[in-house]
Amino acid sequence: MKIVKKYRFFLFLVLVFLILFFINKDFGINALKITGHSLKEMALVIPPIFILLGLLDVWVPRETMVKYMGEKSGVIGILLALILGSAAAGPLYGAFPVAAVFMKKGVKFSNVLIFIGAWSTTKIPMFLFELTSLGSAFALTRLFVDIPGIIIIAFILTKITPKASVEKIYKQAEKM
């Protein structure tokens, strides 16, 4: 029963899928193909990300993370958050578990948010892809607007999130 409860969202969608197949088979097959495609992507990208975060958790001492990305890390912390986020591969959902490990290791909240922002939108592999498909004017304009945007959004979010909620989020990260 525990497993059913844990996977209820997924099971519900599988049910929707089955109903869909009865109503419109072509549509169902199309949706199935796309799902298969995303599953493949997940299977490819997810294992290394999680292994890396496991290694990070075990090998990098808290003090090191605090020193370079903690409360007093200043500009270096911001740059590191941007670089680490941009060097990432994989969809945004992969960023959250990594962010949880960062929080466990005492990384400053605004830097965690900058990391999430960078992962979401300035990833280097994606940028190269964007450059070739949409042209340099498009990709560079987006990059130059995005970098300050990510930092500003992270700072505003940090400002407007009450201290108690931040503490709660950090506590939650311990359990992940």
């Binding site: 969202f9 997924f10 949706a31 298969g36 294992p47 496991g54 290694l55 945004l92 042209g135």
Partner: protein, 160 residues
């Protein structure tokens, strides 16, 4: 890029194993635990994405967001980008295709930006880590920021 990721991970894993076997096993256990933690939501999301993309294919999208569609088109593009979750290697060629089929630069800017920054479908995962309030606020900010990005791209690239 995937290959590079695998090579780096493989080397680090070997190095770790050579230095300390116990610690490495602990790291792998942690990796599995983190993965198992988000797996239920992840599977649900992938199925949902399949359903949504079957509805919003390139034809449907390009028919809504032509150059003439103006701010309404930008807004619609941002909404579509927010609710869909398309891997980059599909998204950029799709975006290029949409441009060829008559979509405007501003609209594509809104689509690409919101696609990457706003994740309505990944809400369940994000909430797990950051709570409801912050997840909502972050995504709302990212949504409006995407409209701003669209505006700048329209000015610079589209010359609107």
């Amino acid at each position: 890029m995937n290959i590079a990721l695998y090579v780096v991970t493989g080397i680090l894993l070997l190095l770790s194993f050579w230095k300390d076997k116990k610690k490495t096993i602990k790291a792998l256990k942690k990796a599995w635990k983190s993965f198992e933690n988000i797996l239920p939501q992840l599977l649900g999301i992938l199925v949902l994405v399949g359903l949504l993309l079957a509805v919003f294919n390139a034809d449907v999208i390009s028919s809504i967001i032509g150059t003439e569609s103006g701010w309404f088109g930008v807004f619609i593009s941002a909404v579509v980008g927010s609710i869909t979750l398309i891997p980059g290697f599909v998204a950029f060629p799709t975006a290029a295709l949409l441009l060829e089929n008559g979509a405007g630069y501003m609209q594509i800017g809104a689509f690409v930006s919101s696609l990457m920054m706003v994740g309505v479908i990944t809400f369940p995962v994000e909430i797990k880590y950051f709570g409801k309030r912050l997840t909502m606020i972050r995504n709302v900010f990212a949504f409006f920021f995407s409209l701003f990005v669209a505006f700048v791209i329209g000015k610079v690239v589209g010359g609107v």
